[in-house]
Symmetry: C2
Subunit: 329 residues, 2 copies
DNA sequence: CTGTTAGCGCGTTCAA
DNA sequence: TTGAACGCGCTAACAG
């Protein structure tokens, strides 16, 4: 196995000094065209690839960023990470992974570790959408999915009001007028925002919910429960907005087991487009996708900008869109 | 914001040379005890943290490894990554993420990129268990989940024969004697190995399958189909081994919709312990866990050993275990 | 246009 | 036991 060629090797092969070689390869101005070409050929010939450590030692930038996840392998982390990795990779920055497991102390240690490795910035990918305690770092930080509680911190999050709105609008467009809503846990800002968005859409159409929405746990059982209650209450309804796909799954199963046809009798729309549910269930669920990989990508871009000295303050909300399935006509 | 203290700063503060300071902080022999203490205090006082780039520039090692995933966010990648990140993090190695998306060309580029960043080794985390084309890298490589087709390459994988065996044994222990099996896709080594293991266990108990197992797609529908066929065929059976949790899910739904009680009439055991299914379904599934995070951890350890000059050749199979649920009595 | 010089922060000889 | 000197590979002044 050959030792890697260094810039000095390239320079020697091209018959120039290392300084000239460096300039030539970086497209710097003060080099003759012929010389530049010669250096370039020598470089490719020797399969020269610059030593990143040496470069960053002198430039002071490492072209690497730290990715702190609250929960590697969580439900939402992955798509965000994919988007971020993509974006950063295309800027040929390395992504250094750090899993904090939702443990604040561990997060602090991981942060110190990353900083000691001279990362240029930190991307905080949360798996829980609620605003979180800010990270105290000496380098730029951008939050994805969950914002920091300090609204001045840079963050890219889901536009939940819009998500709630388009869920309702989709049902209205299907001609439904008696719409119920299964809400998630009340201490999630996401639940409240989605509800607000849905309510707005209904009000603009001159409607109200078939029954005042109730908050409950993010579990299939809660969806089942609300569906059953709706049926026994006798309140007429022809559509249900469920604030997560799991809730929708439970809701649908309860409806079907009572002989209600979906979507003919009752249309159901979910939230999150959590891929696996689609694959598991017999019927593809119509749902609102949160555009998570876009969130990851934009957060990454913001971070790169901040590192380049152009910080973007504040929270940016990314809009999702309805993914058509078979549960809304 | 203060500039980070360098070794020279520490040395100056302690009134010694950088050489001595370096030795002192590294517990090298040729330093007086008193001097060492003085240097240490100076270091903590200045919050000195070594510059990783500079270190690696001179040592030639970066204390970072590349993690190439075939599918970031795939079904199996995450737990493996968690185990690996944990293990590597405790050796204070950084993990550099690279998502190849199952694209060979992209994988090659990512590999080159990682090598240009002087990673000390590569961990290949596959999401598909079939043996894969080896990576041609100038540094140590260890494969996790899927082995390389070259059996001499270092890999840590699931012991699928054992998994199949303990699934069957669990049903036998529950007193079941008429056991059917829903197999996955035939071109998956995992399907064939699990089947072989299950068959062995039955044969040792002097039994055969209630019906000769059939291979099919890894989808709920296939589980449903086999269950329905079994019921209509009239073959008596009191238990089913499903080679994935999704198959089990389908199987159970078909059984229940025909009025068969699970586990009273028919016990069902799955494979993979794919967390989400447990949470989604009304009944917690009894299943075989593959111990994926252990696979990740061991692969990481192997990689570290290889980097330290103690390569472990060949394939290591990690055993899983049955996770009790409510579908086997 | 090109080459020389001087570090970046650190580990490691080798003298003292 | 200590420290001066060198070099890892590269970029950025400056001088030619």
């Amino acid at each position: 196995m050959q030792k890697r060629a260094t810039l000095a090797d390239v320079a020697a092969a091209a018959g120039v000094s290392v300084a000239t070689a460096s300039k030539a390869l970086h497209n710097r101005p003060r080099v003759g065209a012929a010389t530049r070409e010669r250096v370039r050929r020598a470089a490719t010939q020797l399969a020269y690839v610059p030593n990143a450590q040496a470069q960053s030692l002198v430039t002071g930038r490492s072209s690497s960023i730290g990715l702190i996840t609250s929960d590697l392998g969580g439900m939402f982390s992955s798509p965000i990470m994919i988007g971020a990795e993509d974006e950063l990779g295309s800027s040929s920055s390395t992504v250094i992974l750090a899993n904090a497991r939702g443990d604040a102390a561990l997060e602090k240690r991981k942060l110190d570790f990353l900083v000691s490795r001279n990362v240029d910035g930190i991307l905080v990918v949360n798996d829980n959408p609620n605003p979180r305690i800010p990270l105290d770092a000496p380098i730029p930080v951008v939050y994805a999915y969950a914002a920091s509680v300090d609204p001045a911190d840079s963050a890219v999050v889901v536009d939940n009001v819009h998500a709630g709105r388009i869920a309702a609008e989709r049902l209205l467009r299907a001609g439904r007028r008696h719409i119920a809503l299964v809400a998630g846990e009340p201490d999630f800002e996401a639940s409240r925002d989605r509800l607000a968005g849905s309510r707005e859409a209904l009000e603009e159409a001159g409607l109200t919910f078939a029954e005042e929405p109730r908050f409950g746990p993010w579990q299939a059982e809660w969806g089942r429960r609300v569906a059953r209650d709706l049926l026994s209450s006798g309140v007429p309804f022809d559509a249900v907005i469920c604030q997560s796909d799991i809730l929708a799954q439970g809701c649908i199963s309860a409806l079907i087991s009572r002989g209600v046809r979906v979507p003919e009798d009752v249309a159901v729309i979910g939230h999150d487009n959590w891929g696996i549910i689609t694959r598991l269930s017999a019927q593809r669920l119509t749902t609102v996708d949160n555009n998570l990989s876009e969130i990851g990508a934009r957060a990454a871009r913001r971070l790169m900008d901040a590192i380049d000295g152009h910080p973007d303050e504040g929270i940016e909300a990314v809009r999702g869109e309805v993914v058509e399935g078979e549960t809304v006509p």
